[in-house]
């Protein structure tokens, strides 16, 4: 048995060990993430910095569609535009809100002026990521008039509906 063959075998076993340990670590991380306690999302002014707000009229029971928005994300702009286009086709038309996520303060204040939405809140405490456990930019969440979470809006399905 040559020295090179022995080295190849040792390297092979080390490779298996490292690969196996990486998979086990990843599955452990995944399991810990799944079983961590996350808060139910809630659309309320107290959790965020309010950059723009249009108060509801008395008796207004329309839902709020909230777009998780980051300026660098083309998908976010895409989904905000789709939600804005869809909104008038739904009765009662939902309020459109933007939650600025993973954004520094000056950028958030600058971005707020250019966004076509009824409400623009800045997630200064990373509530969306750290307390709700959400991570997909551009997602559109639905809340009722009291701010209670009612699930996600599937824009494709809404656009496909007659």
């Amino acid at each position: 048995v040559t020295r090179a063959a022995v080295l190849a075998r040792v390297a092979g076993w080390a490779g298996w060990l490292i690969g196996g340990a990486s998979i086990v670590a990843l599955v452990w991380l995944w399991n810990a993430d799944r079983h961590r306690h996350w808060e139910e999302p809630r659309w309320e002014r107290a959790s965020f910095v309010v950059l723009r707000d249009r108060l509801r009229a008395p008796g207004d029971s329309a839902d709020t569609w909230m777009v998780a928005y980051n300026q660098q994300c083309a998908h976010c702009r895409h989904n905000l535009a789709r939600a804005a286009r869809l909104r008038p086709t739904i009765r009662p038309a939902p309020h459109l809100a933007v939650l600025l996520i993973d954004t520094e303060a000056p950028l958030a204040r600058h971005a707020a002026g250019a966004l076509a939405a009824d409400q623009v809140f800045w997630d200064s405490l990373a509530v969306w990521r750290r307390r709700w456990g959400h991570r997909v930019y551009g997602e559109v969440l639905r809340f009722d008039a009291t701010g209670r979470y009612r699930g996600a809006v599937r824009l494709e399905n809404a656009e496909a509906a007659p």
Binding site: I23, L29, R82, H134, G151
Partner: protein, 214 residues
């Protein structure tokens, strides 16, 4: 008469190239062309949807380059895959010829081209059913049909007869080169596939977090 010179023979290589050698560059380029077209169609579909929403035109040159980058990345992936199996078998005292095996991986990837094309066609026509799911995997049914988390779909959504055929073909090529029976390369290929898909699924779930849509 002096002593006869020793006859030096090259070790016999059992595995041939995927095609005759002179054809190989054209073959590799041809398969790359198929992948490029597939990637470009996907990018164009995504860009068209985005452009319609934000009122901006898609840049076709950038998309063509992005699709080309995708093909290059895929081919680097084939080399890494071939290198991984060569390393694996070297650790068992056997030699797998990396470049020859990589040439076969390029050919085998045509199965993936075919599967992906059919998947996209079925998705566009909303025509997927149980039969297609058996052939192409449960992911063909879409998120509503899969009844499973995004991670599970990302990991095992492509597991169907085509994937099994791909594994069998890759294992058979290894077995020819190694001069062994099929079961050991098949076990190595299946375990590697399952481990990488498990890792992919875990990463997809971690990336998504509690976000409700993939």
């Amino acid at each position: 008469m002096g002593p006869s010179p020793a006859i030096v023979r090259k070790p016999h290589v059992r595995l041939s190239w995927a095609t005759v050698p002179w054809l190989l560059p054209f073959w590799v380029a041809g398969v790359g062309w198929q992948w490029w077209k597939l990637d470009l169609h996907q990018l164009e579909a995504v860009a068209a949807a985005g452009a319609a929403a934000v009122g901006a035109a898609a840049d076709s040159r950038r998309m063509a380059l992005a699709a080309l980058a995708g093909v290059v990345a895929r081919y680097i992936g084939f080399l890494i895959e071939a290198g991984f199996y060569a390393f694996l078998w070297a650790s068992r005292g056997k030699r797998l010829h990396v470049w020859r095996y990589a040439s076969w991986l390029v050919s085998i990837s045509l199965l993936d081209v075919l599967a992906e094309s059919v998947r996209r066609d079925l998705a566009a026509r909303h025509a997927a059913g149980a039969g297609w799911a058996l052939v192409l995997g449960a992911g063909t049914l879409g998120p509503a049909g899969a009844h499973a988390g995004a991670g599970v779909v990302a990991a095992f959504g492509t597991l169907g007869l085509v994937t099994v055929a791909r594994m069998l073909w890759a294992a058979k090529v290894q077995a020819i080169d190694l001069g062994t029976r099929l079961w050991a390369p098949l076990a190595a290929t299946a375990v590697t596939w399952a481990a990488t898909r498990l890792a992919l699924g875990a990463l997809a779930d971690l990336a998504r977090g509690r976000s409700p849509l993939p």
